[in-house]
């Protein structure tokens, strides 16, 4: 049964939105950290990659490899929160070790450090993929992409499977990302920690005069941004069923572009940018050719940086979050 042109289009919208929500979750990690320390956290995409490797390791340990009722559901919940905790802690630790001593250093120093951290992460991923576990192919080929077991079925949740449909996997994406975004918004807008995070972003000296431990608030921001990347890594792995030590580059580039497109430092901007990049990717894959897609995303990044560096929802002046 052939899909009509309109059905193809709408199916690509569904795919684009799902991928876009994953990109948005990663983009939030970029934008939060940028908002508070003006660092383009180059290693964020690679942290996301490590989250996926961590999750696959747990899958190997638990031995749950099929979508089989409660066992799979329980595993997914454990994977989501473990990976979030892992990535959050890792990001916090990197801030503590690498960025905290550089708080007063020029921003370029921070950026170069982040690029170095990115290399370290990629190599950790490469090493990790070579561990002699069955989920990593017995460690025979460290660099090869790894299969992530299909714990979530691809069948239709709504709609006709042969035509336009929202799959159970799309349901997983929205079921995880939407509540997380709402929780983040609530945290940033309505809690003391969230207000302190905004205060530190706007004037760290004044924040310290209020008794706010600026380093601790920045650390919390790294933790939360990293944890969102950890959640995203599990959703991504379950959606795509394959992970690789190099996947952080593309994911990072998509998410960074999304953050810049939406206006770096702006949380709603990161979500909007993520959805737009997700849709752009699926439309390009469908109507141009897949090999053009990365080029188009890069082109968007460059055009935004040249013509509207504050992005769609960003603040005009040199201000942030």
């Amino acid at each position: 049964m052939e899909m009509t042109a309109a059905e193809v289009f709408f199916q690509q919208v569904v795919n684009g939105l799902s991928n876009g929500m994953i990109i948005a979750l990663i983009a939030l990690g970029y934008t939060m950290v940028y908002g508070i320390v003006e660092l383009i956290n180059w290693a964020h995409g690679d942290l996301f990659m490590l989250g996926a490797f961590f999750a696959l390791t747990l899958v190997g340990i638990f031995g749950v490899t099929e979508a089989s009722g409660m066992g799979a559901t329980g595993t997914i919940v454990v994977l989501l929160f473990s990976s979030a905790l892992f990535c959050g802690t890792f990001n916090y630790a990197v801030d503590w070790v690498a960025y905290r001593p550089l708080r007063k250093a020029p921003k370029l120093t921070l950026l170069v450090t982040a690029i170095g951290i990115s290399f370290i992460f990629v190599n950790i991923g490469l090493f990790w993929g070579g561990l002699p576990m069955e989920v990593f192919g017995g460690g025979n080929s460290a660099a090869a992409p790894k299969d992530f077991p299909p714990l979530v079925p691809a069948q239709a949740l709504f709609g006709n499977e042969e035509k336009v449909h929202v799959s159970v996997r799309d349901g997983l994406v929205f079921g995880v990302t939407v509540p997380l975004m709402i929780a983040l918004w609530w945290l940033v807008r309505h809690t003391k920690l969230g207000t302190a995070m905004r205060a530190v972003a706007q004037n760290p000296t004044a924040a310290s005069l209020m008794g706010i431990n600026v380093d601790r608030v920045i650390g919390a921001t790294f933790f939360i941004g990293g944890a969102l990347g950890g959640f995203a890594s599990v959703v991504y792995s379950l959606y795509n069923n394959t992970i690789s030590f190099q996947m952080g580059f593309r994911a990072g580039m998509d998410a960074f572009t999304a953050a810049v497109l939406g206006g770096i430092g702006s949380l709603p901007g990161a979500v909007l940018g993520g959805l737009l990049i997700g849709l752009t990717r699926s439309m390009s894959d469908q109507y141009l050719e897949t090999q053009w897609t990365n080029t188009i995303v890069f082109a968007i990044l460059i055009l935004i940086l040249v013509f509207r560096p504050s992005g769609l929802l960003g603040l005009r002046a040199k201000e942030k979050v």
Partner: protein, 236 residues
């Protein structure tokens, strides 16, 4: 016994020394002014006292505690609040959130609500602006917000750095009224002012700073009468 005691404070930026051994004492309940020309080191002195800036020597004690080794965020806990130069309010937090950040270290909801009402009796305009972003206030209103925010920590001593800078004269009078009102409630105040005459008039004592050194210190009245002060700072 003095509430704040600064002994032989030295500090600087990069290769340059800016403060060359400043000693200042403030006793409980006093208003003390620090006056001096632009660039004399008044702001640097306050930033060192609140431990934002590093010291290159000397010792600072507040309420009997040596605060020299403390980070800035631990000083306000001891009861010393700082209204910094240029106000430094949080421009994209609402007025209410700005005041709440002033009470960051406190958890007594009722006490915080009561102190916020106190701030409104001092500066009624802030109550009308509660939901507005700090950055949308006028300069004078921002100064009131900065003072109110500092009061929300329930300090025993307030340091104010040029609260009249860049503010319409009518509002300057309001702010000086508020300073007097705080004083009458028993607040200890260290005031930095370019407007030396206004400051010395209601100060118990004052220090005159010149290029990083204290060159004169006396009661407010004596300084107002001193030929040196009259010539250099009162334009006579």
């Amino acid at each position: 016994m003095s509430l704040l005691s600064v002994e032989n404070l030295r500090a600087g930026y990069g290769a340059i020394d800016v403060l060359h051994g400043i000693s200042i004492d403030v006793r409980k309940g006093e208003i003390v002014s620090l006056i001096g020309a632009n660039g004399a080191g008044k702001t640097s002195t306050l930033m060192c006292i609140s431990r934002v800036n590093r010291l290159r020597g000397g010792r600072i004690a507040f309420n009997g505690t040596d605060i020299t080794p403390l980070p800035a965020h631990q000083v306000v806990k001891l009861g010393l609040a700082h209204v910094p130069e240029g106000r430094r309010i949080f421009p994209r937090l609402t007025v209410r959130e700005n005041l709440e950040m002033g009470a960051f270290l406190r958890n007594d909801r009722d006490g915080i609500a009561k102190d916020m009402e106190d701030v409104f009796t001092l500066f009624p305009v802030l109550k009308e602006r509660l939901a507005q972003l700090g950055g949308t206030l006028s300069g004078g209103e921002q100064q009131m917000l900065a003072i109110g925010r500092a009061l929300m920590s329930r300090p025993t001593m307030l340091m104010m750095d040029e609260p009249s800078m860049g503010i319409a004269p009518l509002l300057v009078a309001r702010i000086f009224d508020a300073v007097r009102e705080l004083r009458s409630r028993g607040m200890t105040i260290l005031l930095v002012e370019q407007n030396a005459r206004a400051a010395l008039k209601f100060s118990d004592r004052g220090y005159v700073l010149e290029t990083g050194n204290v060159v004169l210190s006396d009661t407010g009245a004596a300084l107002l009468a001193s030929p040196r002060v009259r010539e250099a700072y009162l334009g006579e």
